[in-house]
C-alpha cells in the first residue's frame, strides 16, 4: 500500500473539508487535565453548549499535583482551586475522572496507554503538547490549545490542516548505555527545533521496531520538541501485546478483530512520504543538552560548540544559552557539576525507566550535595515499582521517592529548582525557567545518565559506572 499510516488514519477521521480549506477531523479520544481545560469548560458554558461525547473523554490531574503531600485541601490555594474546577467540570458533564483517589491518576500521557485507552488508529487530542506520545501506538496524537479543547468538547472534532509526513528511518542497533532518549535528542539536534514544523514524523526502521512500547513513547513524546506536532510508530506485534488485556482494550473476539484492523493501518514498505531522513543507531552515544532548547544537544564525548562553527541562524540562541548556563565554547559537557537529579516526566517516568535507573543505582549513593528525586509517572507505575522493591533501592541511594505527577518537569507545583541550580533531568524541556527557577539550569539526558550524574555529582558516562549496562529491550 502506497499510503502511509498517517494519511490512512487522517482520512478515516475526516468529517468534511471546511471553507477555510482545513479538514474537520473527528477525535476518537479526548484526554483532559486541570491546567488547560477550565477555560474551555467556561467558554462552553458561556455558550450554553454541552460535551458531545463524554464517553470518549477522560480526565486526570498531573501538572499541579504536589508529589510530597497530597492531602486535601492542597496547601497551595490556587492548585486547590484548579483541582476543584476539574472535579466539578467532569462531574457536571459526566466525564470519567482519574483523580487522586482512584489508583489511576498520573501524567495524562502515561495513564492513557496504561489504561488501554490509547490504541492504534485513533485520533487523540489533549490540551498538552506532548500528546504526540500516544503516536507510539500508531495513533495520531495532537496537542491542542484551549480554544480547540472547547471545540473538541462541544463537537468531538477540530479544524486542522493536514501536515506533510516525514519518515525518520533509524537503522542499526543501539549500543549498551544508549537509549531511546538519545535517539530523539539526536534527531532534534540534527533537524532543529523548528525542523518539524508542518510535518508529522513517522519513526521507522529496525532500531525503532526493536524498541519496547515505553521506549517508543519516549521518542514520540519529544516530537514536538523538534517542531513536529505529531510523531508515530507503525503498530506491530509489540504494540498489540502491550494493549492486550488492559482495562479499556477490546476483549476476546473484538480484540482479534481490532488487531486485524490495526495491522491494516501500518505504512507498507512502498508507502510514500514527503520527506525521508536517515539515522544510524549504531554510532549513537549518550546525548546531553548544553543549552536552553532541546535541540542544543551533543554527544557526551563532544565539546560544547563554538559560536562561529554554528549556522548563522543558531548563533544568537547559542550565545544566550552559554550565558544562561554559565558555559564556555569548546568546553566538554562531561564533568559538568550538577545540584539536582530528577527522574520522571511523561518522557521518562514509566516503569521501564525506573527499573533501568534502579538497576544502575543499586549499591551506589547519591553524591554529596545533590538533591535527587524520582517521581513515578502514574500511581500504577508507583504501585508496580513498589511490587518490585524499587523505592527502597532509590531511597537507600539517597533519592526521594515521590507520588505521581509532573513534578519538576515544570514549575507549577512545589518541586522546583532554586536559584541557579543545575539539574540533570530525564524530562523534555530545558527552556529558561522551565523547572521553576528563572535562573535555574537544565541538562536533559536519559534516565540512566541522570543516575550516573546523581552518583558522581557531574555529567558522567553511565557505561563507566555500571560496566556495559544491559539494554532493557
Amino acid at each position: 500500500m502506497k499510503r502511509n499510516l498517517f494519511n490512512t488514519v487522517w482520512d478515516m477521521h475526516k468529517v468534511t473539508t471546511l471553507e477555510t480549506g482545513q479538514d474537520q477531523l473527528l477525535i476518537g479520544l479526548h484526554l483532559i487535565h486541570e491546567v488547560t481545560s477550565p477555560q474551555a469548560f467556561q467558554m462552553l458554558e458561556e455558550r450554553g453548549l454541552k460535551v458531545h461525547r463524554p464517553d470518549r473523554t477522560f480526565a486526570t490531574v498531573d501538572h499541579i499535583v504536589p508529589t510530597a503531600n497530597q492531602e486535601r485541601p492542597f496547601k497551595d490555594r490556587l492548585a486547590e482551586q484548579m483541582m476543584q474546577a476539574i472535579e466539578r467540570n467532569t462531574k457536571k458533564h459526566g466525564i470519567e475522572f482519574f483523580g487522586l483517589h482512584t489508583d489511576h491518576q498520573g501524567i495524562v500521557h502515561i495513564i492513557g496507554p496504561e489504561l488501554g485507552l490509547t490504541q492504534p488508529g485513533m485520533t487523540i487530542a489533549c490540551g498538552d503538547s506532548h500528546t504526540s506520545t500516544h503516536g507510539a501506538f500508531g495513533a495520531i496524537g495532537l496537542g491542542i490549545g484551549t480554544s480547540q479543547i472547547r471545540d473538541v468538547l462541544a463537537t468531538q472534532t477540530m479544524a486542522l490542516s493536514r501536515p506533510k509526513v516525514r519518515k525518520i528511518n533509524v537503522t542499526g542497533r543501539l549500543q549498551p548505555g544508549v537509549y531511546a532518549k538519545d535517539i530523539i535528542l539526536k534527531i532534534i539536534a540534527d533537524l532543529g527545533v523548528n525542523g518539524g514544523i508542518g510535518y508529522a514524523y513517522e519513526y521507522n526502521g529496525e532500531a525503532i521496531h526493536a524498541l519496547s512500547m515505553e521506549e517508543r513513547m519516549t521518542i514520540c513524546n519529544m516530537s514536538i520538541e523538534g517542531g513536529a506536532r505529531v510523531g508515530y510508530v507503525n503498530p506491530d506485534q509489540t504494540t498489540f501485546d502491550y494493549v492486550e488485556g488492559r482495562r479499556y482494550a477490546p476483549k476476546g473476539e473484538a480484540f482479534d478483530e481490532a488487531v486485524e484492523f490495526w495491522r491494516s493501518l501500518a505504512s507498507g514498505p512502498d508507502a510514500e512520504y514527503d520527506d525521508v531522513y536517515e539515522l544510524d543507531a549504531n554510532t549513537l552515544r549518550p546525548m546531553v543538552t548544553w543549552g536552553i532548547t532541546p535541540g542544543q544537544a551533543i554527544s557526551l564525548d563532544d565539546r560544547i560548540p563554538s559560536i562561529r562553527d554554528l549556522d548563522e541562524e543558531q548563533r544568537e540562541t547559542a550565545k544566550k544559552a552559554l550565558k544562561h548556563m554559565g558555559f564556555s565554547e569548546r568546553e566538554p559537557i562531561k564533568g559538568k557539576k550538577i545540584d539536582v537529579a530528577f527522574l520522571g516526566s511523561c518522557t521518562n517516568g514509566r516503569i521501564s525507566d525506573l527499573r533501568e535507573a534502579a538497576r544502575i543505582l543499586k549499591g551506589h549513593k547519591v553524591a554529596k550535595g545533590v538533591r535527587a528525586f524520582v517521581v513515578p509517572g502514574s500511581q500504577q507505575v508507583a504501585a508496580q515499582a513498589e511490587r518490585e522493591g524499587l523505592p527502597d533501592i532509590f531511597r537507600d541511594a539517597g533519592f526521594d521517592w515521590r507520588g505521581a505527577g509532573c513534578s519538576m518537569c515544570l514549575g507549577m507545583n512545589p518541586d522546583q529548582l532554586h536559584d541557579r541550580e543545575m539539574s540533570a533531568s530525564s524530562s523534555n524541556r530545558n527552556f529558561i525557567g522551565r523547572q521553576g527557577s528563572p535562573s535555574g539550569r537544565t541538562l536533559l539526558m536519559s534516565p540512566a545518565m541522570v543516575m550516573a550524574a546523581a552518583i558522581t555529582g557531574e555529567v558522567s558516562d553511565v557505561s563507566e559506572i555500571v560496566p556495559s549496562p544491559e539494554p532493557v529491550r
Binding site: 455558550r47 473484538a254 484492523f261 541562524e313 525557567g433
Partner: protein, 205 residues
C-alpha cells in the same frame, strides 16, 4: 448559542519588538502564573521572568519600555511560541494589548491558538523582519497596518507582502476563526463518521 463572529481583516497601530529566536511559551508566560481557572488578568504576567527580577525589580525588556506602550503589533523572529501548547501564552499577549504578530516563523500550535483567538500571526522573510524591526527601533511610533485580504503589511512608507497559512487567513477574514459554531453545524456528519469507525462502534463482530 451565543456565536462569536467577527471578521478580522485589518489590524493597525504601533508595534513592539521582541527580538530573539525560539522564544518558548514558558518564557511568554511562566508556568506558575497558569494556576488560574480563567484567562482574565494574564496580561500583566506576559514575559514576567524576563521583565522582573526575583524580588520584583524591573529588568530591561521591551514590554517594560515606555516607548512601546500602547503597541498592538508584536514583531518577533524565528520559531516564536515553541514548546508548551498553553493558550495562556497568546492569551497573555492579547490581554497585554497585542492584536497581531509578525515574525519569521511561529510554532505550529501557537499559531493555531492565535488564530482561534482572532489574532493574526503573519510571517515575513528574515531580511524583511530585520528591516521592520529596525524601522520600529528608529521610530517606535511608526504606524503599521496589516491588511489580510491583500496580504500586505505597511510599516511607515514601506510595504511588504506577508505569508500566513491560507486556512487561517480565510478564517479570520470570514469571521469564523472561532471554529466552534462552524464545526457544530456538521453534527449529523460527525455522528455519521463516528458510527463508521471500528473502535468507536466497538469492533462489533
Amino acid at each position: 448559542m451565543q456565536e462569536i463572529k467577527q471578521a478580522i481583516s485589518h489590524v493597525e497601530g504601533t508595534a513592539i519588538v521582541v527580538p530573539g529566536n525560539d522564544i518558548d511559551t514558558d518564557q511568554i508566560i511562566p508556568a506558575r502564573f497558569m494556576k488560574v481557572v480563567t484567562f482574565d488578568g494574564l496580561g500583566e504576567y506576559a514575559f514576567y521572568d524576563l521583565r522582573f527580577t526575583a524580588d520584583g525589580q524591573q529588568k530591561p525588556h521591551p514590554f517594560n519600555e515606555e516607548r512601546f506602550s500602547g503597541a498592538s503589533v508584536l514583531v518577533v523572529n524565528r520559531n516564536f511560541g515553541c514548546g508548551s501548547s498553553r493558550e495562556h501564552a497568546p492569551q497573555a499577549l492579547m490581554r497585554a494589548g497585542i492584536k497581531a504578530m509578525v515574525g519569521e516563523s511561529f510554532a505550529e500550535i501557537f499559531a493555531g491558538n492565535c488564530t482561534a483567538m482572532g489574532v493574526p500571526a503573519i510571517t515575513l522573510p528574515h531580511g524583511s523582519v530585520q528591516k521592520v524591526m529596525q524601522e520600529i527601533e528608529d521610530d517606535p511610533l511608526i504606524h503599521i497596518t496589516i491588511d489580510l485580504p491583500s496580504s500586505v503589511i505597511t510599516v511607515g512608507d514601506a510595504s511588504y507582502t506577508f505569508d500566513m497559512p491560507a486556512a487561517y487567513r480565510s478564517a479570520l477574514i470570514a469571521g469564523n476563526w472561532d471554529s466552534t459554531s462552524v464545526l457544530l453545524s456538521h453534527l449529523d456528519m460527525i455522528d455519521n463518521r463516528a458510527s463508521k469507525i471500528p473502535y468507536i462502534s466497538g469492533f462489533a463482530v
